[in-house]
Amino acid sequence: MNAIFNNKFATLFTVLGALLVLVAPQYLKNYGIYLLTYWLIFIIATMGLNLTIGYAGQKSLGHAAFFGIGAYTVAIMMKAGISFWLGLPAAALLCFAIGLILGFPALRVQTIYLAFATLGFNTAVWLVMRNEEWLTGGTFGINNIARPVIFGYSLEANRPYYYFVLAVTLVLAGLLWGLLRSPWGKAFKALRDNPIRAESLGVDIRNYTLLSFAIGAVYAGVAGALFASLVQFIEPAPFAVGASIMMYLMVVVGGAGYFLGPVIGAAVGVVLPEWLRDVPGVANWYLPLFGAAVVLLMIWLPDGLLSIPDRIKAKRAARAASAARTAAASRIGASS
């Protein structure tokens, strides 16, 4: 019965989700499309972070740095006249390399120490973006970043660009899905659940820790590259520590270690504040309300929004078990 319930639930959500992402842009104005694209980009970025913290169990508060490295790589390369289609893989590659390097402190320090090491890394990257004007334009940023052209078809308008980002999101989600079902995915989860036991079972902790950072970073890098092209103007602010903290929040609120966690989490982190801003009477108070909502949500659902089905399942199982117990008890009582 649970299986049926879950299948119905899952199918309903898939159909609704598909309708939303495929059809909705046809009925939205530019701002709505922009917001949806923004949401997709954060889904990509937080999918990577979910791999690092939700599946591999590493504490990372520096994800926005990779987001920024991706964005600046593409922006700088496009300003130099290099195509977006070279910039995107370059951004991914660079993030992979830096992600590997960032993984090294993780081999030495754990939990809160690691969280602050990555937070510090983010600060450093942000300071470079802000201060090295010759490269990044400093606080003036880089403007007029073009959107890419694909097979001679321009993605300059919002709607085509949205569908392009959607396609990238689906491809990357598919790759992550495959990765998590491969032996690698199992190794990541073993690392999260008990590193020492994982090692005793022959999982190379060192490699998988580094890879969990590096692959997570690639997702952020690609997201950053798409972001630069979406907003067409980048400056250091969106890549500061606060953004990393928001991404961490999105993963945990959605449900760390749930595949669809980032989809929900990014909606809470990106769409909810925007929506609250438009609710009449709320305008000035949308950020405090958002903060309060996050606190209450955590108290109510510490494992994130996607733990709701699991909770219902657990409750049903408990009820079924107690019913079975009562039945058994009355049977025993009757026979005696």
Binding site: L127, R197, I245, N284, W285, F290, G291, M298, P302
Partner: protein, 291 residues
């Protein structure tokens, strides 16, 4: 040399404040495993509470006492019962995110409900300059340093010398044995939260005259306090003092001799060096890893 001393002195004053904020942070961590990402906002809010009481006409001392009481209630009791207790058993991630939410709520709540501007804050000390060994030091700097050190040392003496303090340390080290020994564990943990709140009020009193009361003043302070706490040793409250002073002084020196643009990276660099060579911090003890 004079320049160097000058920088050193003003760095010590800043560092003492970092130490104050860092101390509360390590206390909470030891007693309850809570990482409070709203620690900076815990300093910002009392500053506004005090301003509020003073604008109602209360003298500074009365405002301070009222603020301490209010802070113990809100930042101590409500925070513990409302946020930490329900999340305690779920590990680090939900508490981290809840306190992040709390910091967003507090920071933007003050901005939306009160003001986005910076407000001047009366200083405890007269506007006076001293000349020591050719170095000009303000009374504000000296007073801040002395008071902050006194508070940090006083807290430590309380923890080490009094029965209550020792009971609190017992709870921090081993909750189960402490409760077997008849220590009222929840009460000791509440005391820790209360002390954290009082330390935050003290920090607000010392830091705001120089940096002005502003809704986002907690952001930088909280970050520096975190780094200071980890540099000194997360599970050692004396470490907070060492870390705080070290960060404050190095930051000042680096801003003058290296580059003001990279001043904020100083805490980070010390932090990286320390955790590479001594992951548990300068004074910290190694924590056993559990299988």
């Amino acid at each position: 040399m004079t320049d160097f001393l000058q920088l050193l002195f003003s760095g010590l004053a800043t560092g003492a404040i970092y130490a104050l904020a860092a101390l509360g942070f390590t206390l909470l961590w030891q007693a309850s495993g809570t990482i409070n990402f709203a620690q900076g906002e815990f300093v910002m809010l009392p500053a506004f509470m005090m301003l509020g009481f003073m604008s109602l006409g209360a003298p500074m001392l009365v405002s301070f006492v009222l603020t301490v009481l209010l802070a113990i209630l809100v930042l101590g009791w409500v925070f513990k019962r409302g946020v930490v207790d329900p999340l305690f058993k779920y590990g680090m991630m939900p508490i981290v995110v809840a306190t992040i939410g709390l910091s967003i709520f507090m920071r933007n709540g003050v901005r939306a409900g009160y003001s986005a501007e910076a407000h001047p804050f009366p200083s405890l000390f007269a506007d006076k300059l001293f000349n020591i060994a050719g170095v000009t030091v303000t009374l504000q700097d000296i007073g801040t340093f002395v008071l902050a050190m006194a508070i940090v040392m006083g807290t430590q003496a309380f923890l080490a010398k009094t029965v209550t303090g020792r009971a609190m340390q017992a709870v921090a080290q081993n909750t189960e044995s402490a409760s077997v020994l008849g220590i009222n564990v929840p009460r000791m943990i509440f005391y820790t939260f209360a002390i954290n709140a009082v330390l935050a009020v003290a920090a607000a009193l010392l830091v705001t005259p120089t940096y002005l009361a502003k809704f986002d003043m907690g952001e930088g302070l909280g970050n520096k306090a975190f780094f200071a706490a980890i540099i000194g040793g997360f599970n050692n409250s004396r470490g907070a003092l060492v870390g705080g002073l070290l960060v404050g002084v190095c930051e000042n020196l680096a801003a003058a001799y290296i580059s003001p643009a990279y001043k904020d990276a100083v805490a980070l660099v010390i932090f990286m060096v320390v955790i590479l060579f001594k992951p548990q911090g300068l004074l910290g003890k190694k924590e056993e890893r559990k299988v």
